[in-house]
């Protein structure tokens, strides 16, 4: 029921995740942030099993920080993503697999902005845009249609808003708020939460209101 979206632009990665934390049919928290800061210019969005997401994200984040402390410089996005994937894959056939789906977005000086898509089975691929969850069924085609290489921040936000509107339009679960962050050369920037654009209710042609007497 969770949805994570990542869009790579010219020199930034835009990441968004829905902000509902639910248990069975109850929405326990409506302003939950599913994105975890791994380092100054590395952001990870995680969804999946309750405890696993936080525990795995914090484990990876701490190890990335340790690398920084030991070596004096940050891991590149590619290396951090590979490290994460290796951990997922190693734990997969252990007694404690991590059931988490991830999007890792980062910026480094050598490769620019990169987005990596990873699933709980340990498969990883570098993508221009990626979506996790049921939302992907609705949003991937919107991305295919409107995504362009080297988008500006404003264009990417417009595309993201289109995606959120489509999810609101067709997905049966109400995801009416998304936390949004941008990773670029300067670091991680927290943007305003995005909500579906409210439309004025209108009569669709062919329907008539009937007075029941």
């Amino acid at each position: 029921m969770e949805c994570l979206i990542g869009i790579r632009g010219k020199d930034f990665v835009l990441m968004a995740g829905d902000s509902v934390a639910g248990r069975s049919v109850v929405a326990m928290k409506k302003d939950h942030d599913k994105m975890y800061q791994l380092s100054n210019r590395l952001l990870m969005a995680a969804c999946g099993e309750g405890g696993d997401t936080v525990q795995f994200a914090e484990y990876i984040a701490k190890n990335i920080q340790l690398y920084r402390m030991r070596n004096g410089y940050d891991l590149s996005t590619k290396a951090a993503a590979s490290f994460t994937r290796r951990n997922l894959a190693d734990y997969l056939r252990s007694s404690t697999p991590y059931f988490v789906n991830l999007l890792i977005g980062g910026y480094d000086d050598s490769d620019g902005a990169d987005l990596y898509y990873m699933d709980y089975l340990g498969s990883m691929v570098k993508l221009p845009f990626g979506v996790h969850g049921y939302g992907s069924f609705f949003v991937l085609s919107v991305m295919d249609r409107y995504y362009k290489e080297d988008m500006t921040r404003d264009e990417a936000l417009v595309l993201l808003q289109r995606c959120i509107d489509e999810i609101h339009e067709r997905f049966i679960i109400n995801l009416n708020s998304f936390k949004v962050k941008i990773v670029d050369k300067e670091g991680i920037h927290v943007m305003k939460d995005l909500r579906p654009t409210t439309k004025q209710p209108e009569e669709t042609p062919g329907t008539q209101s009937m007075d029941i007497v």
Binding site: A21, V25, V26, M28, E49, G50, G51, D52, V54, S95
Partner: protein
Amino acid sequence: MALEEIAGLKFSNGSDLFKGDRLLADDCLQASFNLQIPRFCDPVQFLKQYSEDGDSNVKIQFDHGTTTLAFKFQQGVIIAVDSRATAGQWIASQTVKKVIEINRFLLGTMAGGAADCSFWERLLAKQCRLYELRNKERISVAAASKLLANMVYGYKGMGLSMGTMICGWDKRGPGLYYVDSDGTRLANYTFSVGSGSTYAYGVLDSGYRWDLSVDEAVALGRRAIYHATHRDAYSGGVVNIYHMKETGWVKVSQDDVFDLHYKYLRKE
């Protein structure tokens, strides 16, 4: 260990004390922050046969039915719980204490397996006390709930059943966290846990405001639990209300839902 050094004792590998039985020495001297599981046993497989959809004729039925709720407001945290314990369709008790007093500034609620909640929260109390002794400062609610979440995460998949709310007052003001046996830990202003939680949420959400007075907040908590016990067969007994203030928690009241039913009826 810290205490050992301060007291000036010297355990050279424990072999003096236990005369060669190293394994026993290790078990005794290690601080037991976890359950000792026999090395040959796989708890997950073993317990599966006794669960609801297992093969055995004898099934372990956890006491799941409950309604507990807690909410933060400007005067602190209100905790309201019912007191019924059910084992399947049998009402095992109407007088269960579902609020666990961890210390003067921390309360935990019980939902799910009663033994799991009381055991782990008691262990949490020990950890909180150790923190106080080591750091000369009371533990924050965030840290206490994180300790509990990490403890139970280690037993994920082994059949623990616990859905608790850790409530307290620390340097940052009133604190409320939801922790469960999946390892989930969430912070929010209102929570309700248990089979009757959806009913409680209905009343709680409609009447909740940050600037409630203490009396209004207590009345809201009581009403929410009452309505949950009315609709949910697995909740009932009495409503216990606690109020977490800056100076610690106080037990506010205990009311039988049967009496509340007629009292509310008369008022309308």
